[in-house]
Amino acid sequence: MSVVVFFLGLVMISLPFIPMLMEIVKKSDLSPLQISNQTLKDPRSVPDYVFWYLAHLLKVNGLIELKEKVSVSVSTMVGDSLLAIPAGIMTKLDVAAHTKVARVISAGKIILPDYSNHIQKILSLDSIQTGVENNLNEVHAHHLLTIGKKNKVIWWATAENVILQAEAHLPGKVQARKEIVFENGAQFHLLQGALIKSRINFESGSAENQELIKTPSTHIPHKLTISKNHTILDQVVFDGTLIVKGNLTLGKGSRVLGDLKVYGKLMVEEGAQIKGNVFSFGNIRFRGNNLVGGTLVTNRQLRMGPCTQVGFEDRKITVSAKSITIDGPFKVYGLLRAWKSGTITSSAL
């Protein structure tokens, strides 16, 4: 009996060694781990020269009109990108409602009418304007991209300028070489542009204040660490980098002329300004009319009140948080990333 138990035990112990021996003999998994960032540019991007190459191909004038409920999926290979030209060459494309198109490219302006055009990939050498309630997987316009009401950009949109008209749902990435303008509320994940802003314009703080926050420091600011909750009183100027291992409240009109790191919650009262970068492990709340000169990062929620500006035209920054809520007119120069959810509330715009 004990011999049987012994051998049974031996068999059980040796079980993991069987696939091991097979793998040693077969050597089926030899390649190194694929690492990220190996390419200089995202290989999925469509560079300018591809646009111009396609423009050359699309010299012939023509107009293709797709009637209702037509499904088109004609593909051709151009360079590394798989693009499709719907049965012909065109300079202007009108896609009818309820049309299903796999891939579209046009040298001219593309106008997508309302309702559920399921476009896999759409490229225009000019501009694109979408109607109401379209689902767009990938949209690239060379000049202006106007995304209509209740559109969904599933993966990626790029253009020189992007206008988001109303209630856009942007689970993908929206990139603009110049501006992204929100005319109304939206939900977003990742926005990148020289300037991301609401339609309503504003100036956060006086020109003198802006200059003070914008001008780089000529000295390394001294660093102060406070190990409990702290409040900076109204109108107080703190010239240095502040690290608070608790909650921090910046009083109305107060200014921090270095970086700011907060382990708890950060409350920035109206008119308060921070020259450097802001890090927080807790929630951040800007009451409004605030100006931040550096990168703004939190692990948790960020709420920006009306007329808040982050970054400057010549100083691009990153705003990154688990969730972001923007309550009114705003300006962000650079990148706006919400890991989980980003909302621009419509009422305030």
């Binding site: 190194p32 781990l33 690492i35 970086d259 550096g294």
Partner: protein
């Protein structure tokens, strides 16, 4: 005799407690990585005020690999006027100097050679000497066999926007993983060390380790801690500890990956482990007092830092523990000693085998998407014995050399396997 046996049994109990602590620690790390999301607070930072950077590439007889490293560094997606590359040629006897000088001629202003022909040997000594007149905000170090991807520099530098960050460490990925059985196992070991160990420490707000390459330090922080210490072999562990004791944060960036070469034969691997163990233990003896006295941190941070520092001490302690258990068993000291011994062996096996055996390696392989390599996991048994023996031998040898014979430290260079660009062309 009874007193001796009593001491042995107490040693065994204390040792088992230590092993159990390590076992729990690594188990928690693994669970953290398996079930919690990856904390990547600094991941999204793409646009920011970019600091000035000096990239050091320490090199001693690196003719096979230095050109690849310099070429990759020149192609970094980072403004060229904001970074400078300084290859540190430490008394090379091959063509390393010649290759570096050619690069300097081809890229004036971007690469600046630093040739050493005298002074103390070793990476830390070379870094110490080269850092004397550095004015840039950040210092990044890449070993000469590394091939950094174009965005790596930008991603490594981005956490420094946090005013508390003193040091940043990226992830090392073996390039020659498919060469033989040893490299395949080393690949799994690296995977566990970075994907689970380092990232879990980062997630939990503990102390990740600056690894001396694919990473960097803030110049201001380095000056504050007194610069590189050329008396230690593991300048990376030393900088990690001194930064920690001065209140600077060490950040691990899991997505900042870079290829390296791993040893392709056991002799080279054993030499590498010996160097690590020796350097780590040196820092243990140097900093343990300061660490125990340091009061401005949470108890959990302190405990984890002590465990991090003491990891290479567990090898010799395990050997002594096995010996003690055998003596107790054959002396018939206690009926439970066999149980204790078995339990000890089990825990040691689970928790200390190559420091991250089974649980960690399995989880790391899963996270990295290795479908088939994970089958090699039982080979960890072999690894465990080799590493344990090497670490224990190193410790006892170190006691003899450093504290009895007072011998000077020597630097063992890791062998490179890549062909030189010229040989590659010929092939």
């Amino acid at each position: 005799m009874n007193t001796f046996l009593l001491i042995l049994s107490w040693y065994l109990y204390i040792f088992l407690t230590l092993l159990f602590i390590y076992f729990v620690r690594h188990f928690i790390f693994t669970l953290n990585r398996a079930f919690r999301s990856q904390g990547a607070m600094y991941l999204g930072i793409e646009d920011s005020r970019l600091p000035t950077v000096t990239i050091f590439v320490p090199a001693h007889n690196e003719e096979k690999v230095i050109a690849d490293a310099l070429n990759s560094l020149l192609k970094q997606d980072y403004p060229a006027h904001l970074y400078k590359i300084i290859p540190l040629n430490d008394r090379s006897t091959d063509r390393t100097k010649e290759i570096i000088d050619q690069f300097v001629l081809l890229h004036p202003g971007r690469i600046e050679a630093f040739h050493r022909n005298s002074g103390k040997a070793g990476k830390s000594a070379a870094l110490k000497e080269a850092c004397e007149n550095i004015q840039t905000d950040i210092i990044i170090v890449f070993d000469a066999d590394y091939i950094p991807a174009p965005k790596l520099l930008l991603n490594l530098v981005s956490p420094f926007v946090d005013p508390e960050v003193g040091s940043v460490m990226g992830r090392v990925v073996p390039l020659n993983s498919g060469r033989n059985l040893l490299t395949r196992i080393l690949d799994l070991e690296r995977s566990a060390g970075y994907q689970v160990d380092q990232q879990a420490r980062m997630n939990m707000g503990l102390l990740p380790q600056y690894g001396g390459t694919v990473g960097g330090v803030r110049t201001q922080a380095l000056k504050e801690i007194g610069g590189w210490d050329d008396s230690v072999l593991a300048e990376d562990t030393d900088v990690t500890m001194r930064m920690f004791l001065k209140g600077w944060m060490v950040v691990y960036q899991n997505f900042c990956e870079c290829y390296e070469e791993v040893p392709e034969n056991w002799q080279v691997r054993i030499k590498q482990v010996r160097r690590w163990a020796r350097g780590h233990n040196q820092v243990f003896f140097k900093e343990i007092k300061n660490l125990l006295k340091y009061k401005q941190i949470r108890l959990i941070d302190k405990l984890d830092a002590i465990l991090l520092l003491g990891i290479f001490m567990m090898g010799p302690l395990t050997f002594v523990g096995w010996g003690a258990a055998q003596v107790l068993y054959f002396a018939g000291y206690s009926k439970t000693s066999l149980l204790v011994s078995s339990l000890g062996a089990f825990i040691a096996f689970s928790s200390l085998g190559n420091f991250a055996l089974f649980f960690e390696i399995g989880t790391a392989a899963f996270l990295d998407g290795y479908q088939k390599r994970i089958r090699l996991l039982p080979l960890g048994v072999l690894f465990f014995f080799v590493s344990m023996t090497t670490v224990a031998r190193t410790f006892f040898g170190q006691l003899w050399d450093d504290y009895i014979m007072r011998k000077e430290l020597t630097w063992d260079k890791t062998t490179r396997y890549r062909l030189t660009p010229m040989h590659r062309r010929k092939q």
